[in-house]
Amino acid sequence: MNVLDVAHLEVTHPGHDHDSSLTTVRDVSFRVAAGESLGVVGESGSGKSQTMLAVLGMLGRAGATVSGRVTFDGTDLTALTQKQLRGIRGSGIGLVSQDALSALNPAMSIGKQMAEPLIRYDGHNRRTAADRCAELLQLVGIPAARERLRAYPHQLSGGMRQRVLIAMAISREPKLLIADEPTTALDVSIQSQVLRLIDRLRRELDMALVLITHDLGVVAGVTDRIAVMYGGMIVETASTAELFDAPGHPYTRALMQSVPRMDRKPGDRLPAIPGLPPHPSAPPPGCAFQPRCTLARDECGDSVPLLAEPDPARAGHLVRCPVTAPVPAEGART
C-alpha cells in the first residue's frame, strides 16, 4: 500500500514582474510504499525541497500555485484546509529539517517544546508528556534524557539538536518521515550516527522515509529507492542498487563520475559537468539537462522527454532521456 502518492505535482511562484513566473517543480510524480525509504537526490534549485514543501502544504503563504494531486494514506492533501493539514503534520507526517538551531525555539526548553504537541493533540498532561519525551530522547540515543529535558537548544551540540528534532518528528508516531538534508550541517562522524539512527527508527517504528539530500553517499546507505531530480523534474528513478549499478540518465551518470570519492584512486582531472544548472525563470527548451549534456542531439531541445522504462526486464527503473532510454513502442509510463 502506498503511504504517499504524488501525481503531476507542479509548483509555480509569481515572479517580480506581472508576466514572469518561476516554475520550480514540473510534473513530479512518485509513490512511497508503507515502510519504504525513498531518497530524493538533487542539487540546489533542482526542486527537491520545493516538492516536499508542496507535499506538506507549506507553500501557500509564499504565494505559490500548486497543482497536481498529493494523496497521503488515502486522503487528498490538496483538498484540506490549513487547519486540517496541521493535524496531518506531526501525527501522519513527521518533518526533520537541516538546520536544527532555527527549527527549535531558542527561548523554550527542549522538554517544553517537545511536550507541546503531545498535550495539545494526544491528550497527554504535563507529567505523562514529560515521561513520553524522556522516552523519546532515550530512543534517539541522548544520554541522561530526564535532565536534558530542561536544557535549552543552545546548550546542546549540533548532533544532539538534530537528535532532538528527530525525536520531535517521531513523537506522534507518523507513518511517514520526511528528512530534508538532515545531516548536511553536521560533522562526518556525527553525520553517520544520525543517518544510522534515522535508519534504525524507520525499521523499528515501521515508518516510510523520504530522505532529501544532495549527497549520493548519504542515500546509498539508507534508502531502498532513489529519485534523481534536475531542473524541477524527476529525471531518473530506480532501486538504490540498480541506480548505482546502471545509472541511465546522462545527468545521473555525470553526477556519479564528478563526485570525488574516498574509495577511488584519484584520476588527474575530475570529469566535471560543464556549465550551470538551469534557472527556474529561464528553463532551456526540451530536456533540462540538454545544454550540459555530452550526448545531446538536436531533438533533445524540441520537447521535454517522457519518463520511460527503457528495459522491461528492469521494472521500476524509469529514465527521462530519449537517447539513453528510448521510449518503448507500447507506450510510456509516468
Binding site: 550516527q193 546507505g221 570519492r261
Partner: protein, 350 residues
C-alpha cells in the same frame, strides 16, 4: 614532513610548533578568565608546488591554523615561514600579500557587493602595482580567462554571478597579486557537486601551470583524497597524523583518522551492511574543551584503544612511522599489535 631539505629551495610554508590562544571573556565586564588553546603546537610543511590538505571536524583548529599562516589569527608562539621568510618580517615590509593569499568558503561574504569584477581586480592590481598602469585592463582580462570566467562577466556585480562563478572571481582576486602560496579554506563546501569538480580542476591547473602551492582546508575526505599530495589530520588543536595522501587513505595509523575515514558515507549501496555492523551508532564523546584540555591525548575520551598512558602527561608526540617516508602519527599505541590488527581489519580501499 618537518625534515628540512637544506639544499632544496625553501618550502612554500613551514609551520613549527604553532600555538594560537584566544582569550575567554566572561561576565558583564568581559574580563579575561581563561585562554582557549585553539591551535596547540602544530607543525607541518607545504613543499613548493604541492597541495597539502588540512582536515578535521569543526573545532579541530584547522581554519585557525590556516588563518595564522597569513597573520589573520594571533600567533601566540611558534614560527611560520613562507618561502623561507618569517611571517613577522613579511608583514613588516608589507610583502605578505604578494607571497600568500587566502580564499574563503563563502565568496558572497568576501567579495565587495558594490564592486564589479573589473573594478575589484583593477583595484588590487593598482594598489599592489603588480603591472604597469597601462597594462591593467589587459591583466584583468587575463585573470578572468585564467579562472575560466568569460570576459563579458567583467561588468557584473557579485550578486549577478552563480556560486561557482563567485568562487572563481575570489580565486582571480587572489591570483591578481601573483602569490606563490594560497590558503583555500573550505572553498568547495558551499558549491553543488557538479560545480565542485570545475573548481577542483582549476586548483590543479593553477598548481601545474603557475607553480602555486596550496594549503587546502577541508572536511570532505573525498575532495581531499582527490586533490592532495599530503594530508595533515587535526583534532582538538593538535596534529594527529600526517602522511602522503595515498598512504593516509590506504593505511591510516591513528585511531582518530580511522574513525574519520570510516564515518564518510560512500556512494555505494553495497558498503552498507559492513559499516552498520562494525560502527556504533550511539553518540561519541565530544572533542575536549579547548580551554581546559585533559592531560594526555586529545582523542582519549573517544578512543577505543585508550589506556592509562593516554590519560596522563603531555599529548603523544608525533612519531615517524617506520618504512613510510613522511608519515608521522601522534599515538602511543599506533604500533602495538592489537591496534595494528584493528586498523587493518577494514581500511578503506585504496
Amino acid at each position: 614532513m618537518t625534515a628540512a631539505e637544506n639544499t632544496a629551495p625553501p618550502p612554500a610554508a613551514a609551520v613549527a610548533d604553532l600555538r594560537v590562544d584566544f582569550p575567554v571573556r566572561t561576565g558583564v565586564l568581559r574580563r579575561v578568565t581563561g585562554m582557549t588553546h585553539a591551535v596547540a603546537g602544530v607543525s607541518f610543511t607545504v613543499p613548493e608546488r604541492s597541495i597539502v590538505s588540512l582536515v578535521g571536524e569543526s573545532g579541530s583548529g584547522k581554519t585557525t591554523t590556516g588563518r595564522a599562516l597569513l597573520g589573520l589569527s594571533p600567533v601566540t608562539s611558534g614560527s611560520v615561514r613562507l618561502h623561507g621568510r618569517e611571517l613577522g618580517e613579511l608583514r613588516r615590509d608589507r610583502t605578505l600579500p604578494r607571497v600568500a593569499q587566502i580564499v574563503y568558503q563563502d565568496p558572497y561574504a568576501s567579495l565587495n557587493p558594490r564592486m564589479t569584477l573589473r573594478t575589484m581586480l583593477r583595484e588590487v592590481l593598482t594598489v599592489h602595482r603588480t603591472v604597469e598602469p597601462g597594462a591593467v585592463s589587459g591583466r584583468v582580462a587575463e585573470l578572468l580567462d585564467q579562472v575560466g570566467l568569460r570576459a563579458q562577466l567583467a561588468g557584473r556585480y557579485p550578486h549577478e554571478l552563480s556560486g561557482g562563478q563567485r568562487q572563481r572571481a575570489a580565486i582571480a582576486r587572489a591570483l591578481a597579486v601573483e602569490p606563490r602560496f594560497i590558503v583555500c579554506d573550505e572553498i568547495v563546501s558551499a558549491l553543488d557537486v557538479s560545480i565542485q569538480g570545475q573548481i577542483l580542476n582549476l586548483i590543479q591547473d593553477l598548481r601545474r601551470e603557475r607553480d602555486v602551492s596550496f594549503l587546502f582546508i577541508s572536511h570532505d575526505m573525498g575532495v581531499v583524497r582527490h586533490i592532495s599530495d599530503h594530508v595533515v589530520v587535526m583534532y582538538g588543536g593538535k596534529v594527529m597524523e600526517s602522511a602522503p595522501c595515498d598512504e593516509l587513505f590506504a593505511a591510516p595509523r591513528h585511531p582518530y583518522t580511522r574513525a574519520l575515514l570510516r564515518a564518510v558515507p560512500v556512494p555505494d549501496p553495497r558498503a552498507r551492511p559492513d559499516a552498520a555492523r562494525t560502527d556504533p551508532e550511539g553518540p561519541r564523546a565530544e572533542p575536549p574543551d579547548p580551554s581546559a584540555p585533559p592531560p594526555g591525548c586529545r582523542f582519549q575520551s573517544s578512543c577505543p584503544f585508550a589506556t592509562a598512558e593516554c590519560r596522563e602527561g603531555d599529548s603523544p608526540p608525533p612519531a615517524a612511522v617506520p618504512a613510510a617516508a613522511g608519515h608521522t602519527v601522534a599515538c602511543h599505541h599506533h604500533d602495538t599489535p592489537a591496534v595494528r590488527a584493528a586498523l587493518a581489519e577494514r581500511t578503506p580501499a585504496p
